[in-house]
């Protein structure tokens, strides 16, 4: 039986979920034998590949790059998992939503508060444009499984992945926000 093609991706989040993933310590070596890690922020692959079996996606959708990446992941992946509270609920990333549009937040951060050279950063093609509303992953693409937590504890990630590798459904046994 060929190994599962496994990926993790990082959208608008703090990378804390990936830190928790790294907290799996020596089990990561076992994971490397159980699955083929084809894409991950901590391996040197630039392009999200085709025919991925399972992807853990950290972070909310906050800008146009996140949206494009989320769609690419959906197109090329069999089981997409919202990984951590930002992907599942919007969490801290979405705390700007009640304040209004992206413009309101950018003006506050880059025009009103700075004392030195206030200017809203703009670099078309380099700096992705913020969306007006930060969205959890399932508001943008179809999501097959959810692993909440800020971050999800390493043990919960392991239990979840062991279930999926064994052919079970992508379900967290005791999901918990926060």
């Amino acid at each position: 039986m060929s190994r599962l093609r496994f990926a993790t991706a990082w959208l608008a989040g703090c990378s804390g979920c990936h830190m928790s993933f790294l907290d799996l310590d020596e089990w990561l070596a076992d994971l490397g034998r159980l699955v083929e890690i084809v894409y991950c922020p901590i391996i040197d692959v630039k392009e999200y590949p085709d025919h991925v079996d399972v992807a853990l996606v950290e972070g909310a959708v906050a800008n146009e790059d996140n949206r494009e990446m989320a769609r690419r992941i959906r197109d090329r992946t069999r089981v997409v998992v919202a990984f951590g509270d930002c992907a599942v609920t919007g969490n801290v990333t979405a705390m700007r939503n009640p304040l209004g549009s992206a413009r309101t937040v950018l003006e506050r951060s880059y025009l009103e508060l700075p004392t030195l050279a206030p200017a809203i950063p703009a670099a078309p093609g380099i700096l992705p444009v913020l969306e007006d509303r930060v969205r959890p992953l399932q508001e943008v693409i179809a999501v097959d499984g959810f692993l909440p937590g800020c971050p999800p504890p390493a043990g919960m990630i392991r239990e979840f992945l062991e279930g999926v590798i064994a052919g079970g459904p992508p379900v967290a046994r005791r999901p918990r926000f926060g």
């Binding site: 919202a82 509270d85 599942v88 609920t89 919007g90 969490n91 801290v92 979405a94 705390m95 939503n97 009640p98 304040l99 209004g100 509303r133 959890p136 399932q138 508001e139 999501v143 959810f146 692993l147 909440p148 800020c150 379900v171 967290a172 005791r174 999901p175 918990r176 926000f177 926060g178």
Partner: protein
């Protein structure tokens, strides 16, 4: 001869006293019915709807906290239908305001968070509303964060029924409802608040908290409230 005061809850036969609620009987029989707005010692209002149960012979579901036990009643508390409704209720509460558990004072000590886990909620199927709500830190000791409020009104009832101050109330309608102090004045300017802190102790989420509490730092001492409630009961019995 009056009918014997017996009923069945989840196939357990339960005796009850005149005037007891279905919720009280269930708890006595060791049957867990989830609740949010109920608190032992306060009046019941059936606001959160989590305690809905099926009553045999009735097409309607009943909020067990405000339903009187009657002889021969047959109650089911844990059916597939009820589990789904409870899940939806909790998801609606989570979607309605900004419950950002990871940065909440009540993280790890929150009844809403615990109930979400208990009901296996791993995501919310409704679009989050992200309402613009404020935090009032005008009071010297306590704060109110409307982002976390679920409008259970435990604060309103404990302030009225136990403390006797009635500082808290609810203003507005539907999705714009808010708990208010006095006539929607800043809490710190309230003429009626005695700063007793009972509302803070009873809040099920991180909506009411002692000022200066950090993320996940909320500790509650419900024993203090139970003492105050016992005192009130004693007063009402002995004038």
């Amino acid at each position: 001869m009056t009918a014997e005061r017996k009923m069945r809850i989840n196939d357990v036969q339960v005796k009850f006293e005149e005037g007891e609620t279905v919720l009280a009987c269930a708890r006595r029989a060791g049957v867990r019915i989830p609740t949010l707005c109920h608190f032992d010692g306060l009046s019941d209002i059936g606001a959160c709807r989590l305690c809905l149960v099926e009553v045999e012979g009735s097409a309607q579901l009943a909020a067990s906290c405000v339903t009187r036990a009657e002889p021969g009643m047959v109650i089911r508390c844990h059916t597939t239908r009820l589990a789904e409704y409870r899940k939806v209720i909790l998801e609606l509460l989570l979607a309605e305001r900004n419950h950002v558990c990871s940065v909440c004072v009540a993280n790890g000590n929150c009844e809403l968070q615990d109930l979400a886990t208990e009901h296996q909620i791993d995501h919310v199927r409704f679009d989050y509303q992200f309402p613009a709500l404020g935090v009032d830190l005008s009071h010297g000791q306590f704060g109110v964060d409307h982002n976390r409020c679920i409008l259970c009104t435990r604060c309103v009832r404990v302030c009225d029924e136990i403390e006797g101050a009635h500082t808290w109330d609810v203003a507005g309608r539907g999705g714009t409802s808010r708990v208010i102090t006095d006539l929607a004045q800043p809490w710190g300017e309230s003429q009626t608040c005695t700063s007793c802190g009972k509302c803070v102790e009873l809040c099920p989420t991180g909506a009411l908290f002692p000022r200066g509490t950090s993320v996940g730092g909320l500790v509650r001492d419900r024993g203090r409230i139970e003492l105050a409630m016992a005192h009130r009961r004693h007063e009402s019995c002995h004038g």
